[in-house]
């Protein structure tokens, strides 16, 4: 085998959508939090184990453990001795509350900034939101 053609080919290990631009444990915690917020991981349900997460994301188990640890610290996930980690009661409501608070700075401000760059005024923007495909699909806004 020729070294020149087989090495340094820029093989990027696919990490189930995690990227290298932010701490991996934070991204793991965010993914789990997203699932809890979406209801995919219901309150009282078992959270995947450190080893399951490590295998799925192809990351070091210590990194996965740190991600779960973040959720434990926030009280979103709790340990049940001997059986594993579970989504805490009230976790979903708390997450949605926090996200509402952050909605303006994360989404609204960039949206308005881009709109003003394009010369789109407030009324026009509101109309565009009402006509967007999500709104058309019946999502209430």
């Amino acid at each position: 085998m020729n070294q020149g053609t087989t090495e340094g080919t820029g093989l990027l290990r696919e990490m189930a959508g995690l990227d290298e631009g932010a701490p991996l444990f934070v991204q793991v915690a965010e993914r789990l939090a997203d699932e809890i917020a979406d209801g995919g991981l219901g309150e009282g349900e078992r959270v995947p184990s450190t080893n399951e997460l490590a295998a799925y994301y192809r990351i070091n188990p210590a990194t996965a453990a740190k991600g779960i640890g973040m959720l434990t610290d926030d009280g979103l996930v709790e340990k049940r001795r001997g059986i594993g980690m579970f989504v805490a009661d009230g976790a979903r409501a708390r997450l949605l509350g926090e996200r509402r608070k952050r909605f303006a700075e994360r989404y609204l401000e960039p949206l308005v900034a881009e709109a003003s760059r394009l010369g789109v005024g407030a009324d026009e923007l509101a109309a565009m939101i009402r006509e967007s495909s999500y709104a058309q699909k019946g999502t209430r806004i």
Binding site: M1, E7, R13, L18, N60, K66, E114
Partner: protein
């Protein structure tokens, strides 16, 4: 907790040339650490000394609490897989068998599974194997030994991407079930990044960076756009590596950016892109310590 590997003031001199210059660090047990650096930076010399294959000119090395040189108790608990591993006039099956006798935690089951997955011909002489197959054999032995201290020195020479992926996957899976202390030297950082808990970067025989891998991710960001806007955004920040073309500029700023910074960048029509671990490591050698908000050893 006794460090798995402890190195203090380690130097190695070859005919007046310093290959390793005053290296000091402890490696906690049960972790995977990447030993990174350019070719000739001193990675192999360092590993050879840790493995007891070579003497230090100055300083001390302890592995599992004892000096590794000619110490059979330590050597049976440590494996060193290196790129240019020489085997006696062995067939593949003999090389595997010899290793199984030496290492007390050897897993026949894992060895058998890996030999099959890497398609290694058991009856072929090791010296007749291709370079990639020889690397694969080293990987099989290195993993199946389940040694408490496992040193891999660029274990992928000649391996194609599929085989490398297999190696990383099997390393991670077996490590998860049987934790040990792994030191992996590589310059294919992007590939191994997800596996690494810690990174140690060696440059010209010195440690220039010793940090938690996750602390480095997002620790610097590339900012690009109109030069005036870049200048406004980067004012008062630690900046390195500025490039410019016409009225466009690209700069790398140190430190994590918060929501306010992002909103400001968006308002200034700037593009932000966090540096990957690989990009950060490339920058680490030869840049001032304040660039990276992580612990740096050596001056």
């Amino acid at each position: 907790m006794t460090p798995a590997i402890s190195v203090a003031g380690l130097s190695r001199r070859y005919r007046g040339q310093l290959a390793l210059d005053d290296i000091t660090f402890d490696l906690e047990p049960w972790s995977i650490t990447g030993l990174l650096g350019r070719n000739g930076a001193g990675k192999t010399t360092f590993m050879r000394i840790v493995a007891g294959h070579e003497f230090a000119s100055a300083g001390t090395v302890t592995v599992l609490g004892a000096c590794p040189v000619e110490n059979e108790t330590v050597l049976r608990r440590m494996i060193f897989v290196r790129e240019d591993q020489a085997y006696p006039d062995f067939r593949v099956r003999h090389a595997v068998q010899a290793a199984s006798w030496f290492y007390p935690n050897w897993s026949h089951e894992l060895a058998g599974a890996l030999l099959e997955e890497f398609n290694l011909p058991l009856d072929r002489k090791v010296r007749k194997l291709s370079r990639g197959m020889r690397s694969a054999l080293g990987n099989v032995i290195g993993l199946a030994a389940r040694a408490e201290v496992t040193l891999f020195d660029e274990p992928y020479a000649g391996l194609d991407p599929v085989a490398r992926q297999l190696f990383y996957d099997r390393l991670l899976a077996d490590y998860t079930e049987h934790p040990r202390t792994v030191l992996l030297s590589t310059h294919l950082i992007d590939e191994a990044a997800g596996l690494l808990e810690r990174v140690i970067v060696i440059d010209r025989g010195r440690i220039v960076l010793n940090a938690d891998a996750d602390d480095l991710r997002g620790a610097a960001t590339s900012v690009s756009g109109p030069a005036i806007a870049v200048a406004e955004f980067t004012a008062g920040r630690s900046v390195w590596n500025t490039r410019r073309i016409a009225a466009q500029e690209s700069a790398v700023v140190a430190g994590t950016l918060d929501e306010t910074d992002r909103a400001r960048a968006a308002a200034l029509h700037l593009r932000l892109e966090p540096l990957t671990l690989q990009q950060l490591v490339v920058h680490a050698a030869g840049s001032p310590p304040e660039i990276i908000g992580a612990e740096r050893t050596s001056a």
